[in-house]
Symmetry: C2
Subunit: 195 residues, 2 copies
């Protein structure tokens, strides 16, 4: 539905794949191992952008062959602290106790890579959790095992339903892809919208 | 997972049914015809509450038999104007042109009815649409036919993805059920959370 070069989504996240599909974009998925470390001096938004762009550089070949490669990275921030993916139950429990009763920010960086250009952008969403009980956290971790997720939660999961009092920004950005901004960037790149 | 009396959801909306299920609540659906008219003098939040409570009164028998009956009504408001469900394409087109490029409010009223009490509450979410093109509106109406939806759109549909720049509040409230507030009210009613 968007007239574009063949699109490659460089992400194994089923959420990102589902979101891109609902946007009406036809794509294939190609996965490569990319080291997700980043320099210490970067500010938070810079980290999300840096990691999206770092992933992007692994797809030079595909981009030069006429594909549009989409990479993304989502980070969870509490004040200046970046909260990564938990190693398991203990760390997941600690993370959710940190987020409990507070506002945090979710930042997703996105990189669009074609043969002749790379465009990067990010979006920020504020998420407000109620005070979570130990029982609620334990139940969630045991049933959903969200250990592949930054901050140890999915906003579309049970804990997001019962725990998130409000958000400010894009809901899908918290899931891993700022779909409205992505659409706007694709239109700017002259990918025509054709029903 | 919530220790409660048998729950009846009095709504045919597949979105509401899906949201209640993700909350981990086991329920059955019983539908009755209820006239959705309301007095002119009501303010906007009062309309959502009035309609949720009006629907609730149709389930006196079920509530008196030991069930918890959940009713809800979602309205879309642009300033002081309430925007209902469209009659078809023409009216849907007009509604989306009204919402285009502006902020509007989505209010869902909910009523919880047991044998001895009725508790009602509402939640409000601000939704910000980008300027929608005629082509985008036409494509959406033709593919999704959202004529059963207040305001002629579903936030979880294509148009919500490409058109909603941000929200303030609960995402699920826009879909038709303020799940976090509903959970908090159920806990207050001493329905125990038991993993």
């Amino acid at each position: 539905m968007i007239q574009a070069p063949p699109v490659i989504l460089a992400s194994g996240s089923p959420r990102r794949q589902e979101l891109l599909a609902t946007m009406g974009i036809i794509f294939s998925v190609i996965l490569k191992e990319v080291d997700e470390s980043f320099p210490d001096h970067l500010r938070r938004e810079e980290v999300a952008l840096y990691l999206a762009e770092k992933k992007s550089t692994a797809y030079k070949k595909e981009a030069s062959e006429g594909n549009l490669v989409i990479t993304a990275d989502t980070i969870v921030c509490l004040d200046q602290q970046i909260i990564g993916k938990p190693g398991g139950f203990e760390e997941g429990f600690e993370m959710l106790q940190l987020l409990s009763g507070k506002r945090h920010e979710v930042i997703t960086g996105v990189s669009l890579h074609t043969g002749n250009q790379t465009i990067s952008f990010f979006d920020t969403t504020n998420v407000y959790f109620k005070s979570l009980t130990k029982q609620e956290i334990t139940f969630y971790l045991n049933t959903c095992t969200p250990y592949d997720k930054a901050g140890s939660y999915g906003i579309q999961d049970w804990i997001g339903f019962i725990g998130v009092e409000k958000i400010e920004g894009s809901y899908q950005n918290v899931m891993g892809l700022p779909v409205q901004k992505l659409y706007a960037e694709l239109i700017k790149l002259n990918f025509e919208w054709q029903p």
